[in-house]
């Protein structure tokens, strides 16, 4: 066949461009797959257990009770959103390749980027959905617990004959500070952002590695290192601590691993501190940058991958 025929046919065939509909199809298939693998049910069950555990410890005052409930539940959400993000992503890509499902998908007019993005969005939709459900449940429980604890505290003051208006107002303020506020939702949003970054890193690793175990192990290593970026920076900027090799290694680690401590606002929320809008915006921007960079590198790797 002549080059002229090829080029004329290529010119007449419309280009296949990025399609949000196609990405949505992939994402929905991924969500359905994960839901039918009972992953969401597992997340919800675990977090409900965590909420239960939040009530189980003996505590001194209402403030402590509410703080403990938030601490245990948000901690559980944080761990499990990361675990689900890493494990799901590490499993899905190699499984599609092993089962040859990837062949049937990519032999259709499906750009590889659409496939990757669809898979990522699917996993994030599952994590996001789970977090929304848990946020709603936690908000409800916190609100109920807050009302109950306030009534109990006022009753206690009344019995002690200390129920002055100032004392009641003070109790109300303490309980309200530790109770249901917008800060709780921001904490859940920060957990989602952190899971998003870790999941995107897992997707990148998954596109490079052929082993699921390797992806999972390295993704968790990156997560752990990512939480200690401040230490790495300190190590790098303190000349007396190590030689050139150590500093180069620290620089490399800091460059490779995303700074996950940027999303650590859970402790502040548990302590009843107010999270400013600027901090939320900052976190969201950082997550968007990490995600874009990781996804771009993943696309470059996956586009060249021999299947």
């Amino acid at each position: 066949m002549s080059d002229a025929t090829t080029s004329s046919a290529a010119a007449k065939t419309p280009k296949v461009r990025f399609s949000p509909q196609r990405v949505w199809t992939m994402a929905m298939a991924t969500v359905t797959q994960l839901i039918r693998m009972k992953i969401l049910a597992f997340l919800v069950l675990f977090c409900l257990l965590a909420v239960g555990a939040g009530f189980a410890f003996s505590v001194i005052n209402p403030e402590q009770q509410l703080s403990l409930l938030k601490s245990v539940t948000l901690g559980a959400l944080q761990i499990f959103s990361i675990v689900i993000g890493v494990v799901s992503t590490a499993l899905l890509l190699p499984k599609d390749l092993e089962d040859r499902t990837l062949y049937t998908i990519l032999s259709k007019p499906v750009p590889r980027f659409d496939y990757l993005l669809g898979k990522l969005i699917g996993v994030l939709m599952l994590i996001g959905g789970g977090l929304i459900v848990m946020d709603a449940v936690l908000s409800l429980i916190l609100w109920m617990r807050q009302s109950l604890l306030f009534d109990e505290a006022v009753e206690h003051l009344r019995m002690e004959k200390m129920d002055s208006t100032e004392a009641v107002t003070q109790v109300r303020e303490i309980v309200a500070k530790q109770g249901l506020t917008w800060n709780l939702h921001w904490a859940v949003w920060a957990i989602f952002l952190k899971a998003t970054v870790v999941t995107t890193v897992a997707l990148l690793l998954s596109s490079i590695a052929s082993s699921t175990l390797f992806t999972i192990v390295i993704a968790f290593c990156v997560t752990i290192i990512g939480h200690g970026e401040a230490l790495i920076r300190e190590f790098f900027f303190t000349p007396n601590l190590s030689g050139m090799t150590g500093r180069a290694a620290a620089l490399l680690l800091a460059a490779i691993c995303p700074d996950l401590a940027q999303f650590d606002i859970v402790d502040s929320v548990v302590n009843g501190e107010i999270v400013p809008w600027a901090a939320v915006l900052n976190m969201t921007s950082i997550a968007a940058i990490y995600m874009t960079v990781c996804l771009f590198i993943t696309h470059l790797v996956f586009a060249e991958k021999e299947l």
């Binding site: 290529a10 399609s19 049937t104 990519l106």
Partner: protein, 287 residues
Amino acid sequence: MPDTPAVSVNHLTKVFKGTLVKGAFRAVQDLSLTVKAGEVYGLIGPNGSGKSTTMKVILGLLKPTEGDTSIFGVPSSEVASRSDVGFLPENPYFYKHLNGRETLHFYGSLCGMRGAKLKERASEMLALTGLEDAATRRVGGYSKGMLQRLGLAQALIHEPRLLVLDEPTAGVDPAGSRKIRDLIIEFRSRGITVLVTSHLLEQMQEVCDRVGIMAHGRMVREGRLEDLIAVENQTEMVIENASPALLAQIDALVKAAGGDTRLLRSGHPRTTLERLFLEATNEAKKS
């Protein structure tokens, strides 16, 4: 573009990079072939001869080391080349959590199909491949033959002009295998081009217009099936109800002709084991 071939492979070479332990592996070496629009082309060869690698390069799943491939004139490196292709890999698996109909809807959606058109086409494909009764069953519970037929249905969902089938009858029982061959013949009658690989040469002989034989990554024979399998210096006659006397006369005539003319063999033609199996199992089904 009536003259544009369905598939064009020009001087294709594919070398898989080696590792520290193993050296590089040359899977395909300077392969050229052309599949004309509307024909059934069989690519045959032993395991490791490079058939599947060639198919993957044609489908853009692998990049060629040298040479190029195109589908209906569009280079395989472009995603658009897959707009007119349906692919059935060897022993396909689909998302086990979906049922047959959902699987077809999924693949149809990936090809940009939507709404009533997609539903109608999925039903049509389920009927064509005989999977209507299993349409609402999870794919995880499908037999190998059903998976293979579902694979054909997904390959056809977007009405491609070219079907690429990698060992379509592998692991399928004779009845299922016959069904797939009948479908291939039907595709040809509908004007769909088929590029198929198989180890089962007898089956290929039934459906292919042209074949290419590959060995060690190279094309060793290629051409029209009838031309390739004809034994030029022999003639076959099949006579019904011939008496022993007539056969003796024929034998005498051949001997009388002299020269190199010889009667090599005579006897009752035999059916194939496959045909016998299909007849026997159909009789059992009827009774």
